[in-house]
């Protein structure tokens, strides 16, 4: 286990370094720059040039990269030249919206997808199984944007149960309002992700149902469902845990759309705005931190795998 952890940590660090180079270079491909955005359409070219010099965007790329990574290694993710706010502070503030949104969406999708997915597998080729299957296909096919719009119209505009958009101006200091404003977005996000997850749970369970060890278990007198619950689910859990790790990344991407539909001041909205303003110092820092989060989850998933599956612990 120690060897595994050391090797896995080295891989983690190498991935993060590669990501930092990729993020930096890809963002340089964007046309347009922040100096132009700040100066607008009435400033003189000389004003734009002096702004560029002040922002440091006229320096060689290698120097800009080294400055950035040097700062990151010292724990400083930089400061936006536009707002004057530090990247980590603003990301932390936005995460108070996006983290609960993604966490609740994740929880909802697991709570719905796992039992329904197992049920769909057990009821495979029966009416119930088909209904769940078709429902999940529909959930995958519907665009998140559309689902969000419909939910907002039904539950906010018609029924007036929940707010249609926004987040309370005082944030979590108004906990009831904050929770209420996250309900519809979380459900929207969970529907899309839950449908995908359900398909994976169903196929993983189906895969296990045909295994020899389940036939053996049934030969000892267990029912099909009993054998599945006792011996099968642990095996089916392996691919599902891997998928869950990937789902977090997918949820963050989905959050960009959902936050736009519900006008939530979260990470997705912030990234869109910062890219629009060509606030590259901010975008780099934010994307690197998010990449780090996803890589960390990948790390945890691998560790979880070894805990769930004793065979992995022996073989390496």
């Amino acid at each position: 286990m120690v060897v595994f952890l050391v090797r896995r940590t080295a891989l983690f660090a190498a991935s993060l370094f590669a990501a930092s180079v990729l993020i930096f270079l890809l963002l340089q491909l964007l046309s347009g720059d922040m100096a132009q955005v700040i100066a607008g359409v009435q400033a003189t070219p000389a004003q734009v040039a002096s702004l560029r010099h002040e922002l440091g965007t006229d320096r060689p790329l290698a120097v800009q990269y080294a400055t950035w990574v040097g700062g990151v290694l010292a724990g400083d993710f930089g400061t936006s030249a536009l707002s004057g706010v530090s990247v980590s502070a603003e990301l932390g503030e936005k995460l108070t919206v996006t983290a609960p949104l993604v966490a609740v969406a994740m929880l909802l999708s697991v709570l719905v997808a796992v039992p329904l997915g197992v049920l769909a597998a057990i009821a495979h080729r029966r009416r119930l199984g088909v209904v769940i299957s078709v429902g999940s296909q529909l959930g995958i096919a519907l665009p998140t944007l559309w689902v969000g719009l419909v939910l907002a119209i039904v539950f906010a505009v018609w029924l007036r149960w929940l707010p249609a958009q926004g987040f309370p101006t005082a944030g979590w200091e108004q906990p009831v309002r904050a929770v209420r404003s996250l309900v519809l977005p979380a459900v929207t996000l969970a529907l899309a992700e839950g449908a995908v997850l359900l398909r994976f749970v169903r196929s993983a369970t189906l895969g296990v149902l045909n295994q020899d060890f389940l036939r053996t278990a049934r030969a000892t007198g267990l029912t099909r469902t009993g054998a599945l619950l006792r011996h099968g689910l642990r095996n089916a859990a392996l691919p599902v845990v891997s998928i869950l790790g990937l789902q977090v990344a997918a949820l963050l991407v989905g959050a960009v759309v959902v936050e736009a539909v519900f006008a939530l001041p979260g990470v997705g909205q912030m990234l869109l705005t910062d890219v629009g303003n060509r606030d590259l110092v901010k975008v780099q820092g934010e994307v690197l931190l998010l990449t780090g989060a996803v890589l960390t989850i990948g790390f945890l998933v691998d560790v979880a795998h070894r805990l769930i599956d004793p065979r992995l612990r022996v073989s390496r």
Partner: protein, 504 residues
Amino acid sequence: MIRVRRLVPLLLAAAVLAVACSGAESGGAGAPAADTTLDVRLVLEPTSLDITSVAGAAISQLLLDNVYEGLLTRDAGGAIVPLLAQDVSTSPDGLTYTFRLHDGLTFADGSPLTSADVVWSYRNVIAPESKNPNKADFAAVTGVDAPDPHTVVITLSRRDANFTYALTDRAAAVLKQGTDPATLAGTANGSGPFVIRSWQRGSSITLARNEHYWGQPANLSGVVLHYIPDTTAANNAQLTGETDVETGPDPTLLSQFQGPDFTVAEGVTSDKFVLGINNGRGPLADVRVRHAIRQAIDKDGLIRVALAGKGQRIGSGVAPTDPWFDAGLTSIDPYDPPAAKALLAETGFGSGLDLTLVVPNIYSARIGEYVASQLGQVGIRVRYEPVEFATWLDRVYTKADYDLSIVDHAEARDIGNYANPDYYWRYSDAQVQQWADQASTAASDAERDGLYRQVARKISEDAVSDWLYSPTSLVVLRAGVTGFPTRETNSRLDLAQVTASAAQ
């Protein structure tokens, strides 16, 4: 929900009491409450609060008149009127302006505002190292002086017919002498009727009444400006009462606001949706091709399709808010596809022409698609490319790497751009440049307006651009909100006069 239901009778009782106490003034239709806050939907959030060095209409929309004030301002009808100055006198040669400030002017922190603050602010604008994006507005200014605490004298190097207008705009905002520019991005200490209470980035900015205001205090105790870019989310917010006012609604969705609960107020704007044509490039350098493009586009149809009729044709680069607007110019290059085809055949492009149309993706896709389809019908094959605004700034505005482009020129009185040969239209005409030059130094408004009208006619006859429309400014108000501005609301939004009775 429950809290609101309990509140309503209470508020009604309070309103009745207020009416009873104030005597016969109110007609009983719900008196304006003194401590009302208003929730307003705006579209674009400012990137910074720094009015001295960051461009963008969102900054002036939020801060001008509300937080920062200039020597002059514009009233609800667009007329230039005094603000910090109580009067202005101009020397006969038009080179010296003398302003007498009001007595008792103060900043929001309670400190007095004197002529020294005006001098400090305006000298920063004209300084060689100035980062002010509107520095050009003060190009003629050579000196700003304060002979005494109540007097400001501004000297110009030449007559400037647009100078008093510039003094109503953002270059003229007065800041407290010695303010550290580094603090301006996130805080503001202006002399206006409101102060910035809080900024929840990505979501809202809260204004609170300036209790030290030197003039008539604001009616509202506070205003929450909700930045909601998505039109559907904004409509839902207005329908559910989460906002009291919705600016910039999608004009094709206004039917939702019929009935007694809402009113839709209309006003004029300085916005001009311009189909920019790269006059320096290939076939577009031929004036006949440009005329063909103009004649191929049915502007009335576009206004119906994209704006549900809420806009007007302008015929040149002048908005209906500009004093030199001439509605007669819309008769130049009328919609006539056969004539457009004939012109193209004459220039040797009868078999067709391939052009790119680069459009910032902040505008409705309906506009670009409509124009592309109209041009397609006369044989101009258009490759429609929606891009981010920053990309547009770089590619079209700075490098002129485009054939056609659609952008909203929101600045008022900007016809002078057509006299700049380096502007992204790449149009150079000595006559236009001479007229524009004479207009900017004209001795009277009448002379100036006449010259600008000549420029407007000439650029239309030269088909420098096509001018698609000037949209109507729309504001959806819930019943009980009055005094909300309707003119040029994208760049200026004076909230001090707004009143609101309690929500139903």
